[in-house]
Symmetry: C2
Subunit: 280 residues, 2 copies
């Protein structure tokens, strides 16, 4: 993680604990109801919001949604290597993610943003699905130069499983911890973490502030009862962020399908969402 | 470079000194005369030849030709970082390579070949244009699993220049040395190395066998006289291969624009081309 290289220009010096990590959920940037269909409207609007917010340094991580998940599921990529027939599936899963990544890159570059893709499967190795090593030298160099690295959930190589799926959430959390990020902004397709599933329970209300202690209690409760995730499907996602919140990286979850939520979160303005902080 | 990971299946064990490196020149897979135009006919035929040859393990490295070079040149990417205006150019150069890479991947996957892209700019750092570090764990794991890693010339991050261009030839040679490859097959748009430029000199003849000693003499002669490259433009390419030939990795240059040349070279059959070997 150390940067010993010479800098091309001092004005592009990049230091730790100032980088913002923006995670764009697959559920927001693709159409859930239609397989392999990106939500180009949301992608274009988010690119405009990112341009307008003008946050530096910034790392973007996006998910796969209906572009990546069906292909991965079809070939059982997450569960690891079992037969040679899966190998083309590994490639197809990565390829589907590259297609989605291209749309995002294209939207950012058209707005003059120096976004550069970093292929997670070329730089990360996982062990039983957890990040074991990650080559970050190119990524750090990109930040130094003033570029916006764009990573994504990907089919990756795994030391014990052969291959597996690395979620964008794990990647975002891991990068935040390793780069000592200043904050994490998570864009999803709901307003944040709810007290109950808002689609099933009319009394469900949005949790505006969630402490790590409360989050852990919620996780234990659900774990013990084996009840379905009553938080509106957000608990798995939020659990992945625990390592980052433990080291006191402020995290906010906002609805990326609603205009200006991501923009306001990036600017640090008051916005509808769930803020998760360390402490009990 | 060490592989300590567990293997998913013994049948997929991969050992050193058996891997074949196939370099597909940008001049063969794109149309020289038309900017940003892939030569899909050649790409499709080469994919069929690779499928038919059925060589394992295999690594493919391709160049950029008229897809990558004009973009890179336009922004002065090879010369390194001078101004923020180049940053979008860095991204666009990589993006152009990804587009070409996709066509090749698509052609291979459609034939059932488990080809997987590896982004060089995510795994390589150069120093003054020469490879300094390369993360090879994912690539080695892909080979173990029976996949075909596909790499390409790319805009990469450089410790002293900020960024630069890494040629597919340097990458192929470096991989061959580091993985102790069994051989290198180079596909270009001419039949091999000539005694003179065949387009200008009717007495020019193809050099069927070239030793490292002869190659070095040729290089010195041209270097001293500052004469143009009389070998038909192949000397720069061939010079890049010297480190691999020095460690006795047999190398053959064939015309990838002519049917079955790459196929025969992969199968080790007699074929028109230039074989370069160690020794005087």
């Amino acid at each position: 993680m150390k940067m010993k290289e010479k800098m091309p220009e001092k004005s592009y010096a990049w230091s730790k604990s100032i980088v913002t990590i923006l995670k764009l959920g697959g559920s927001a940037i693709t159409r859930k109801e239609k397989q392999s269909t990106p939500n180009t409207g949301v992608i274009e609007r988010l690119a405009s919001e990112i341009k307008k917010a003008n946050i530096k340094p910034l790392i973007i991580v996006h998910g796969g949604g209906s572009m990546g998940h069906p292909v991965a599921k079809n070939f059982g990529i997450k569960e690891g290597y079992r037969s040679p027939a899966q190998l083309v599936g590994f490639s197809k899963t990565h390829y589907a993610m590259v297609k989605l990544n291209e749309l995002i890159l294209d939207a950012l570059i058209r707005r003059g943003l120096p976004a550069v893709s970093i292929q997670p499967s070329a730089s990360v190795m996982t062990e039983n699905g957890r990040i074991l090593t990650m080559e970050t030298k190119p990524l750090l160099r990109l930040l130094e130069l003033g570029c916006i690295p764009v990573l994504y959930g990907d089919a990756v190589l795994d030391t014990s499983l052969g291959f597996t799926i690395l979620s964008g959430d794990q990647l975002a959390s891991n990068l935040a911890v390793n780069l000592n990020a200043s904050r994490i902004v998570i864009g999803v397709d709901v307003d944040g973490v709810y007290t109950a599933d808002p689609k099933l329970d009319p009394t469900a209300r949005l949790v505006k502030q969630l402490s790590l202690g409360e989050l852990r209690k919620l996780k234990t409760k659900i774990g013990v009862s084996r009840a379905p995730d009553v938080t509106g499907g957000m608990l798995g996602k939020v659990s992945e962020l625990i390592p980052a919140i433990e080291v006191e990286i402020p995290t906010i979850i906002v609805n990326a399908t609603k205009p200006n939520r991501v923009y306001k979160a990036l600017k640090g303005e008051k916005v509808v969402g769930t803020v998760i902080t360390a402490g009990e």
